[in-house]
């Protein structure tokens, strides 16, 4: 009985160590680091196309107009409904067609129009933190809007960027 137990314990240890080695770069789903790129901040200025208020994560679809006039829709992942309800938001906080600015981090695969949301800013200036409490995304206060890639720059944005360069 004793020896069998230790044989199994040893077997489990071997498997776990193998997994540890194989997963030297363990990727965590629904943990920020696996799906999103902390080095690729994005700033999305557009209209809310759709809100998916669903468990376990909410999704805001933001339609943005690009410089060349074409439109594209980004899917931005927010916290769970419970997380956002606790902050005083609900489904009707996000009416379709509302102009918003969403900042966040792009998916690791940069070809995807998908991002993890940090904050959403409404036309009246209200700002709401969308992320989950501790999903591993960088600190919301540390979001560096200057570094973020603005996907649809207005003339004003372009001027600002010029100023920065000079």
């Amino acid at each position: 009985m004793r020896t069998t137990f230790w044989k199994i314990a040893l077997g489990v240890a071997v498997v776990v160590i193998a997994v540890l080695i194989d997963g030297a770069g363990v990727k965590a789903h629904h943990a920020f680091g696996s799906e999103f790129d902390a080095n690729a901040p994005v700033l999305l200025k557009g209209k809310i196309a759709k809100i998916e208020w669903v468990n376990p994560h909410t999704w805001i679809h933001v339609e943005i107009k690009k410089d060349d006039g074409s439109k594209e829709t980004w899917m931005v992942e927010g916290g769970s409904p419970n997380t956002l309800l606790r902050r005083g938001a609900n489904k009707s906080t996000f009416p379709e067609g509302t102009d918003v600015v969403v900042d966040g981090y792009q998916a690791r695969d940069h070809s995807e129009k998908r991002a993890n949301a940090r904050n959403v800013t409404f036309p009246d200036g209200r700002k709401l933190f969308l992320g989950m409490t501790g999903t591993g995304a960088p600190d919301p206060e540390k979001f560096d809007a200057d570094k973020a890639k603005t996907l649809n720059q207005t003339e004003k944005d372009k001027e600002k960027e010029q100023e920065k360069k000079q």
Binding site: H29, A31, G134
Partner: protein, 137 residues
């Protein structure tokens, strides 16, 4: 799916199997202490039979848990539900290796044994519930 994408769900699944083995077997002993199940054996016998497997479950749980934690250490550290879970886990482990072991001994007062069983069941349930809430807080 490439191999690294498989790692996390496999680790999570092992974590689930580990806690089924540890918490499941602890619950069996608790139910015996409460006198509502496992009546074909004495609490002491049942606990002695299951203890190696409870410990194996705890080993699996405490190996896979920190592995998941390491993927997002800072965030978990600041998550209130995670902090709650860790507090309950520390208390539950402490209870298991001290009071719980004595509660199964013959001659202990039935009331004390039942009290230990209820506290054990509540603490372990809170560990699981706290774990689930990490993503929803």
């Amino acid at each position: 799916m490439n191999s690294s994408e498989w790692v996390f769900p496999i680790v999570q699944s092992l974590h689930f199997i580990g806690f089924a083995l540890s918490i499941g077997t602890i619950a069996m002993v608790d139910l015996r202490l409460l006198g509502v199940g496992m009546l074909r054996q004495s609490a002491a016998d049942l606990a002695a039979d299951l203890e190696p497997w409870t410990r194996l479950g705890i080993v699996i749980m405490l190996t896979t848990g920190p592995l998941m934690f390491s993927t997002d250490a800072v965030a978990y550290h600041f998550n209130p539900s995670f902090q709650f879970k860790m507090t309950c886990l520390a208390l539950a482990l402490l209870l298991h290796f001290t009071v719980h072991r004595r509660a199964v001994r013959p001659g202990i007062s039935p009331l004390a044994a039942k009290g230990a069983a209820v506290i054990s069941l509540v603490l372990w349930s809170l560990v699981v519930a706290g774990g689930r809430m990490i993503a929803f807080i």
